[in-house]
C-alpha cells in the first residue's frame, strides 16, 4: 500500500478489503508488539537450530557464521526460543532495558 496504514481512509480500501498485492503480510512489522527481546549468547550456542524449528513466527534465520538469530522486524518476543534452547543460550530481556 502506498499510504502508511494510519493515513488510509475508508474510501482508499478495496471493495471487501481484498488484498491485491500477494504476500504483503511480510511488510507487516509484528516486531513492534514485543515487550521482551531474545539475546543470543554465541559462546553457549551449538547451532542446533531448535530455536529456528520452534519459532512460531517464523522469524529465526541463520547468519553467515551459521548462528540462528531472530529477525527483530518480525519477532513478537514470545520467548519460545529461549524456553526450548537446550543450552540456555537465549535470554529474554526487557525492551528498552
Amino acid at each position: 500500500m502506498a499510504k502508511p496504514e494510519h493515513e488510509i481512509t475508508w474510501k482508499d480500501l478495496e471493495v471487501g478489503c481484498i488484498v491485491t498485492e500477494p504476500g504483503n503480510a511480510s511488510q507487516y512489522q509484528t516486531g513492534d508488539w514485543r515487550s521482551q527481546r531474545p539475546i543470543l549468547n554465541k559462546e553457549r550456542c551449538i547451532q542446533c537450530g531448535l530455536c529456528y524449528l520452534f519459532c512460531p513466527e517464523p522469524c529465526v534465520k541463520q547468519d553467515e557464521e551459521k548462528y540462528f538469530v531472530a529477525d527483530l522486524f518480525y519477532c513478537k518476543g514470545c520467548g519460545i526460543c529461549a524456553r526450548e534452547c537446550p543450552m540456555g543460550a537465549i535470554q529474554m530481556v526487557e525492551e528498552g532495558a
Binding site: E5, H6, W10, E14, V15, G16, C17, V19, P22
Partner: protein, 391 residues
C-alpha cells in the same frame, strides 16, 4: 408474460433460482425450507439445471461453501430457516464484509427453545445486523419476483452485498398459490450474467478475508456501511426495471387503504395479507385505518416510512418476535427510533404475537387495532403487549 400456474411457493423460489441460472447451490435441508433445496437438488440431478449442488454437513458449512463458490465468481444460491440461519450466523457477517453477493431464501422460523419448527421472525431479527440486504415477500408472486430481483440487486457492481429474501415458514412457504412465472427469455432480459469483479484466480492472486488491525477495522466497517446505505438506489432502480418489463411494481414500504388513515397498522411478511382483511372490516365499522407494510428491512427505509406515517395519529406495530427483557418487538423498536426526531409523528404502540406458528386471525388484528386505539386514548403506557396469550 407466462401463463398463470398453481405452484407451491417453495417450488416457485426454486424455479426463480433455476431461471437465474444459479451455478452453485450449497445447502442443508431444514424445515420449513426443505422443499426449496429438495426441488433444486431434483432439478440438478435431472439435468434441468446445470449447477453444482453441494451437500454439506451443516448450515455453517453451507454458508462457508457459498463464500468459496461466490468468491470464484459462481452465481450462488442457498436457503435456510430458524436454527439453520443461527448456525450460519458468524459466516453471514463474513459474506457481507467480503462483499460476496450470495442470494439466500429464508423461510422464517421460530428459534428454540422450546423446539418449534413453525414460523415467526425470531430468526430474521437475530441476523438483523449481519450486513446483508434483507427483503420481505408477502405472497408467492412476490417470493418468485423478489428472488429474481435479489440476484440483480446483490450482484450489481456498485452493490456486491449478499441478499436475503424472507418468506414466512409454512404460512407462505408451503402454500400452493396461483402465480405468473417468467420464462427464460424474460429473465435473461432482466438479469445479466454474473460477473464478479475480483474473482479468485491463480493468475491474478488476491487475498480475501484478511484481518484488519484496530488501525483499519473502523474504516473497513465504514466502507461496508456506506455500500449498504447506497444500495437503496440500486434496489429502487431494480424494482423500477422489474415493473417496466413485467408490470408488477414493488416499493420499499407498501400501503393499503392508508391515504386518509388516522390509524395505521404496521406488519411485515405474509401476515400483512391477513391484516388487509382486518383493515377492510374496520373500515366498514367506520374506523379510519390503513395498513403500512415495509418490504425492505435492510437497508432500513427511513424516508419512506417517515413519509408513510406522517399523517397518522396512531401507529400500531405488530411484531412476530419478542426481544426478551427489552422494548418488545424489534420492528416497533426500530420504527420508534426512526420517528424519534420527527415533529409530526404518530403515537407508536407495540404488539407481539404470531409466535412459533400461532395463527393471527383477521378478528385478532381488528382487536389489536382497537386495543392500540384504547391504549393511546386512555394513556396506558406499556412497552408492548402480547396478543393471543392465555393468562
Amino acid at each position: 408474460m407466462g401463463k398463470r400456474v398453481g405452484i407451491e411457493v417453495s417450488f416457485a423460489i426454486a424455479e426463480a433460482a433455476k431461471l437465474a441460472n444459479s451455478d452453485v447451490i450449497a445447502a442443508y435441508p431444514i424445515t420449513p425450507q426443505t422443499h426449496i433445496v429438495e426441488r433444486l437438488a431434483e432439478m440438478v440431478s435431472d439435468g434441468e439445471l446445470d449447477a453444482q449442488f453441494i451437500c454439506v454437513e451443516s448450515e455453517h458449512s453451507a454458508m462457508s461453501a457459498c463464500l468459496g463458490s461466490c468468491a470464484v465468481g459462481a452465481r450462488t444460491f442457498t436457503a435456510t430457516a430458524g436454527q439453520g440461519l443461527e448456525l450460519m450466523h458468524e459466516v453471514l457477517y463474513v459474506a457481507a464484509s467480503c462483499r460476496l453477493p450470495i442470494v439466500m431464501a429464508v423461510t422464517n422460523r421460530a428459534i428454540s427453545g422450546p423446539l418449534n419448527v413453525w414460523g415467526d421472525h425470531s430468526d430474521v431479527m437475530a441476523t438483523r445486523d449481519c450486513g446483508w440486504i434483507q427483503i420481505f415477500a408477502e405472497n408467492g408472486q412476490e417470493a418468485f419476483d423478489l428472488t429474481l430481483c435479489s440476484f440483480r440487486i446483490a450482484e450489481d457492481p456498485t452493490v456486491l452485498i449478499p441478499t436475503m429474501i424472507h418468506i414466512d415458514g409454512f404460512h407462505l412457504s408451503h402454500m400452493v398459490e396461483p402465480l405468473y412465472l417468467l420464462d427464460q427469455e424474460e429473465v435473461d432480459k432482466f438479469l445479466p450474467p454474473f460477473k464478479y469483479p475480483f474473482p479468485l484466480d491463480p493468475d491474478h492472486p488476491i487475498t480475501m478475508g484478511a484481518f484488519a488491525p484496530p488501525v483499519l477495522y473502523t474504516e473497513a466497517r465504514k466502507s461496508q456501511e456506506e455500500a449498504l446505505q447506497a444500495s437503496r438506489e440500486v434496489i429502487r432502480a431494480c424494482f423500477e426495471e422489474f415493473a417496466r418489463l413485467f408490470g408488477r411494481r414493488y416499493s420499499f414500504v407498501e400501503n393499503y387503504r392508508s391515504e386518509d388513515a388516522e390509524i395505521l397498522l404496521l406488519t411485515m411478511g405474509s401476515f400483512s395479507e391477513t391484516a388487509m382483511t382486518a383493515i377492510d372490516a374496520l373500515r366498514n365499522q367506520g374506523i379510519k385505518v390503513g395498513l403500512i407494510h415495509p418490504r425492505l428491512w435492510r437497508p432500513f427505509p427511513f424516508e419512506e416510512l417517515r413519509k408513510g406515517v406522517s399523517q397518522a395519529k396512531i401507529l400500531v406495530v405488530f411484531d412476530r418476535c419478542l426481544s426478551y427483557g427489552g422494548p418488545g418487538g424489534p420492528v416497533a423498536s426500530e420504527v420508534k427510533s426512526a420517528l424519534y426526531g420527527e415533529k409530526n409523528r404518530p403515537e407508536v404502540v407495540s404488539f407481539v404475537g404470531g409466535l412459533g406458528g400461532r395463527d393471527v386471525t383477521p378478528e385478532e388484528f381488528e382487536q389489536v387495532v382497537k386495543r392500540g386505539i384504547e391504549r393511546v386514548e386512555k394513556g396506558i403506557r406499556k412497552e408492548y403487549e402480547m396478543i393471543g396469550v392465555r393468562e
